[in-house]
Amino acid sequence: MADSITLRVTRWRPDKNTPPGPQEYDVPLRKEWTVLDGLNHIKDELDQTLAFRWSCRMGICGSCGMNVNGEPRLSCGAFLTDYAPGPVDVEPLANFPIARDLVVDMSDFMEKLPRVKPWIIRDDDVTEIDGEYLQTPEELDAYKQFSMCINCMLCYAACPVYGLDPTFIGPAAIALAERYDLDSRDQGARERLDVLIEHEGVWGCTFVGECTRVCPKHVDPAGAIQRYKLKAAQENVKAFLLPRGMR
């Protein structure tokens, strides 16, 4: 095994007038190192001006999403040896505006997520309940997969529809709406449907399926979206057919 590998890292500063471009760094090629370890080596030993996000370094916080050799990856999950002999292109997460170097502006996602009301919505007006909500293992299984989302936004980076039409609400938001709709404790499906039945909701999705392929937690947002379309269509037919009171 060679003892080093080149990382070609995108650099950009908002106060300079040059477009983003790669800068090369040689980092040690250690068996257990990930791209994130390489970036931390750069910042610690080679170039402290490099900016990037990271936190848990173990694939659960969702902070370190980047494009590695064109693929949306968590940099803490991309092992350098998998890219040997390199060089490895490390770019900011696709489809998001660059704030600086590898840091992207995620405010669009932060605006979209609350729109689908990703929390338990109840009809009853209680602030204190008599014990816990009971849920069987089968009821948990119904939504568990979609609850694995860590909001890492790799799915947004993979989605060509989101890249071309930033008004599209996006894979993670819809998958999280489905997570709550399928939760037996939740009674808010109607409110989420009203948001997602709009054009920038589910209908922009053309089922490319790339979101599911890049998801590090196997959430399958593409599947969630298609099922949501069917559900929305069924509710819509009922809205047309049934008189006002029964809808």
Binding site: L164, R190, I197, K229, V237, A239, F240
Partner: protein
């Protein structure tokens, strides 16, 4: 109260057209576009085809199938134009695509009716 929207109904039609095309087009295309013209299989007589076409059930089934398949194509092509060419006139593209599908459905109605 759920809002009423047209887009979900268009999507359902698109889906119906997709299933129809997936199930029926392979055999129809194989027989009528390849096997019969190329003589791999002896084509049926004109009288036999006319016989099938003059059945009112055939008229309704074919009209329904052609319509949903045309809507399927219009819907997919509309989104391909959005994503492929990144065109900005979304409303106009949608009208052109579904309008084309409706014209096709109209033509199907007339042509299927002419067998009677």
């Amino acid at each position: 109260m759920t809002k009423r929207r047209i887009e979900p109904l268009v999507w359902m039609t698109f889906s119906a057209g997709g299933v129809t095309a997936a199930m029926f087009m392979p055999v129809l295309a194989f027989l009528f576009a390849l096997a019969f013209p190329l003589g791999w299989i002896t084509p049926p007589s004109r009288d036999h085809l006319l016989d099938i076409l003059q059945n009112p059930v055939t008229f309704l089934v074919l009209l329904g199938m052609f319509t949903v398949m045309l809507v399927h194509a219009a819907h997919r092509f509309r989104y391909t134009l959005y994503d492929g060419l990144q065109l900005k006139w979304r409303w106009q593209i949608a009208m052109l695509c579904y309008g084309g599908a409706m014209l096709g459905a109209g033509a199907a109605f007339i042509i299927l009716g002419q067998v009677f």
